[in-house]
Subunit: 240 residues, 2 copies
DNA sequence: CTACTTCTGTCCGCCAGCGTACAGACCTCC
DNA sequence: GGAGGTCTGTACGCTGGCGGACAGAAGTAG
């Protein structure tokens, strides 16, 4: 698919896009469209949240580390959301790392601007609160998923989520890194990918996994994929 | 420990207790102190959130079920929090079940009252937002915990959390039920409790686990216990 | 006291995933 | 083209937890 240069006017972030046009117009000057680069760290556990990101394309992972050095992804943020909810809550520091998993671009806003813009009952605040609830559901579902589902299911889930946020069907990631996202050994990743490859659902290149058959993956993923998707749709569609 | 009848004036819920006195006084008439009974369901996935609960004593679990009938706890709410955050967000339905795990009492408020009271930038809203951020951290830590830690660690963690919310050291629960909270087999619970019993850290009665040695449990639990505790303290203490 | 239910302890074989290790494949840079 | 780093495939033994089952213990109702 040829990459079309986006006109600056349309925003691809679903929250921003849902704003009343005049409100969006008012806010646009306070934001900047910036590229988000692979493995760029948007927030460190030690630092302050000085800026927030509304992704338009690409994916930001929220990752936790344990004392023993093991890491695991605890949430993802794509064009349906915002990386920086704590700012909305008046909090500037959280113990998780936010890092870019898939390249793309995002609308960036200063943290204090967001804070000002959401103190009153504005359309933006309403939308963000709905998003927040869906985000809660996403994480809660992940708690359950990590407790109940096996590596292959979770690996497919992860690939599908990436796919939804990427315009390409190629995911740039090593098995080692993917293992860190899933909280498992590198070798386990290789092992669960093998049968998927054998069935022709995915392709390989060094450091790249490409999805060839979405339906295939959807068949072996756990229900968590749909549950979370539905919940986001419900929240962003305006249902109570 | 003899159970003292609480004077109606003091609230044991940490959020309410942190309100400015006049604000609390204003809100008290809009709340009711109610007992919360073992296994009482505070919110069903199908129903509406008509009321919210600020627990004073006892514990409310947030539980998710999968299509295959397996269940697992995804969060807990004690006297540090509120069961009903989605209401704050203008949402009335969530796909999780809220059920009482440890008896006690809570301050109950109508959902629409909470909504009205938190539309503006009130002290209650500020506190709830801080709580919300800590709650996010709790759930994220649980995602990691379920992905990385073993059953014994998680079981101890669960017992400790109960203990923190209970005035007694006895937790009324069957292995079957505890298994459902942890997302594991009933027999696995029996197995991980055995060594704890052998070390004299816990005692048994049919349907009851009593904690005899906190320190012992803390030694084998994963770091998640402290991480979450610290995060709640940080949020409720007012740090940014 | 008896009958019945429910809860707990235990045991079996089994398998997913772990830790570890090593060799070959791939890419990049010189 | 060659050297060196990095990524991937695979293998081996081990263990934690599973599914399933059953017997005995502890309550409960009659």
């Amino acid at each position: 698919m040829a990459r079309q240069p986006e006109p600056q006017r349309t925003v691809q972030n679903r929250i921003l896009a849902a704003l009343p046009p005049r409100e969006l117009e008012r806010l646009l000057p306070r934001m900047q469209r910036v590229p988000i680069k692979l493995h760029q760290v948007v927030h460190e556990p030690v630092g302050l949240f000085t800026e927030v990101y509304f992704p338009e394309e690409g994916l930001i992972s929220v990752v936790t580390s344990m004392d023993d050095g093991s890491t695991i992804e605890v949430a993802t943020v794509g064009n349906e959301g915002l990386a920086g909810l704590p700012v909305l809550m008046g909090i500037e520091k959280v113990p998780q790392r936010y890092l870019v998993q898939i390249e793309g671009q995002a609308m960036r806003m200063r943290a204090d601007t967001l804070w000002q813009e959401t103190r009153e009952d504005t359309p933006l605040r309403r939308l963000l609160m709905r998003y927040q609830t869906a985000f809660f559901s996403q994480i809660m579902q992940s708690v359950a998923c990590n407790g109940l589902h096996n590596i292959q299911q979770r690996c497919c889930l992860w690939l599908l989520r990436c796919l939804d946020r990427s315009r390409s069907s190629e995911v740039v990631i090593t098995h080692e890194f993917l293992g860190q996202m899933l909280g498992v050994r590198r070798a386990s990743v290789t092992e669960v990918l093998k049968p998927l490859h054998a069935k022709g659902w995915i392709g390989h290149r060094r450091g790249v996994v490409s999805v060839l058959d979405r339906q295939g993956l959807e068949r072996v993923t756990c229900e968590c994929y749909q549950v979370v998707r539905n919940e986001f749709d419900r929240m962003l569609s305006g249902a109570v």
